[in-house]
Symmetry: C2
Subunit: 233 residues, 2 copies
DNA sequence: CGGAGACAAAAAGTCAGACTTATTCGTCAC
DNA sequence: GTGACGAATAAGTCTGACTTTTTGTCTCCG
């Protein structure tokens, strides 16, 4: 995924990033550049580059005479795709998945409403194509094929919203959906009601009915919340 | 703001980051590490660290034998607080402000609803204190004092939501609010209706009325959208 | 006993230079 | 035209020496 191991410092990050985001070093822990360089068997130049990247993610802070100190989770750049991937891959996965699903439930309905106004005819076509693909693969344990169309569907919605911030959540949403299919138990075929909702959203967007697109999408995301027992009692 | 010029590579970023995010180099433009090092009068080691950070923000891509190529805006990590600050400081400011306000309008109502469920008694107290501060400074050109309480109010809401992703938007929202007061024209006192809404939100959160808190906050954000002529006709 | 100032140690920060490696482009033969 | 080979190029890496800042400690004086 993404850009694995492009350079030595990338390899260091692939190990050190997950360790830090997994909470293996308590906040305030101090790492020394030289020791890390030894541990990973790289030069200090390379190690410094890696530290700089971690620093830009606000995972650590480098101070003279002190060392590289790990920052508390509350300061991390939790929207950094790399950080999200690291956390999804580690033991923080459940909480991360809940956070992201909640984020989805806030963003996607609004995005769908905007998409109903701004979607190009080509985007509408892609949307219906995705919805049809979901229908076609909604039965018979074709989970992988279903997932592909599901991810594409939500990505098109977010793109079509015309908001760059929303659009950039496409990867994140895809990762959440993939996680639900792969990691969490999902032996059974997808909920037929959910499939229908996707088709209806595509219709609403095509018809330019923003309110309806928003409301239908809200139903979809509420379903996702319920799956994770994030209820609104 | 944040951590200015902590080290030479920080100084380089303070100049190069705004240049790139302002679009001064078209996507695909090629920069050479050596030339940049010369231009900023730093060693290549320092320059490389700066490039690594820009790379982690997906602003540029470094490839052997080619150089450092600028990526299209669609690939930037637009949620990176540093990138947001750079764009808000540059000529991209209007679009960035619209994107962020739209993001607010999606997030904050949901956050307020969650806050109504999860806010501690202390957070409720802080909230009413902020709201009262807004009321007290809503007349007589006390814009700065009003702004302080406004920023604090929204930050408490986002924190009290209990969702780390929402909480981390506190800085961004504060920056948007500050921008509205400082940069954009706001000679007059704040809209009394908006002030009242904030007070009512505080009440709803204290009362644990999630639906009402959400709806009232939605009215606030709709007002913010209208100020920027982002309408829902 | 306590505080102020000076000193020493520690770790990051910076730099310069030599070397390595991957990639691309041009050329030449087929 | 196409393919392979080779040279040029720019990033990547390593090393070692030096600088700078910060912190902890030790001493000296009140």
């Amino acid at each position: 995924m993404s850009t694995p191991g492009r350079g030595l410092h990338g390899h260091v990050l692939d190990t050190l990033g997950p360790e830090i985001t997994a909470g293996e070093y308590p906040p305030g822990s101090v790492l020394r550049t030289d020791e890390l360089a030894q541990r990973f068997d790289v030069s200090r130049s390379v190690m410094r580059e890696a530290v700089r990247v971690l620093e830009s993610m606000h995972l650590v802070e480098s101070r003279r005479r002190v060392g590289v100190t790990v920052r508390p989770k509350s300061q991390w750049n939790v929207y950094d795709p790399q950080v999200i991937r690291w956390r999804l891959a580690g033991k923080d996965r459940p909480q991360q998945l809940r956070s992201l699903t909640l984020l989805r439930s806030a963003i996607e309905p609004v995005a769908a409403g905007l998409a109903a106004r701004h979607a190009t005819s080509q985007q509408c076509a892609e949307l219906t194509e995705c919805a049809l693909g979901m229908v076609a693969n909604s039965r018979g344990h074709r989970l992988e094929e279903y997932l592909v169309h599901d991810m594409a569907f939500h990505r098109v919605i977010l793109d079509a919203s015309g908001n760059e911030m929303f659009a950039r959540l496409g990867d994140v949403v895809a990762e959440v959906l993939a996680g639900r299919t792969h990691h969490d138990v999902m032996f059974e075929d997808p909920d037929p009601a959910a499939v229908t909702l996707h088709v209806q959203v595509a219709e609403a967007v095509r018809a330019g009915d923003a309110a309806r697109a928003e409301e239908l999408t809200r139903e979809i995301t509420v379903g996702a919340l319920q799956e994770l027992d994030i209820l609104a009692p």
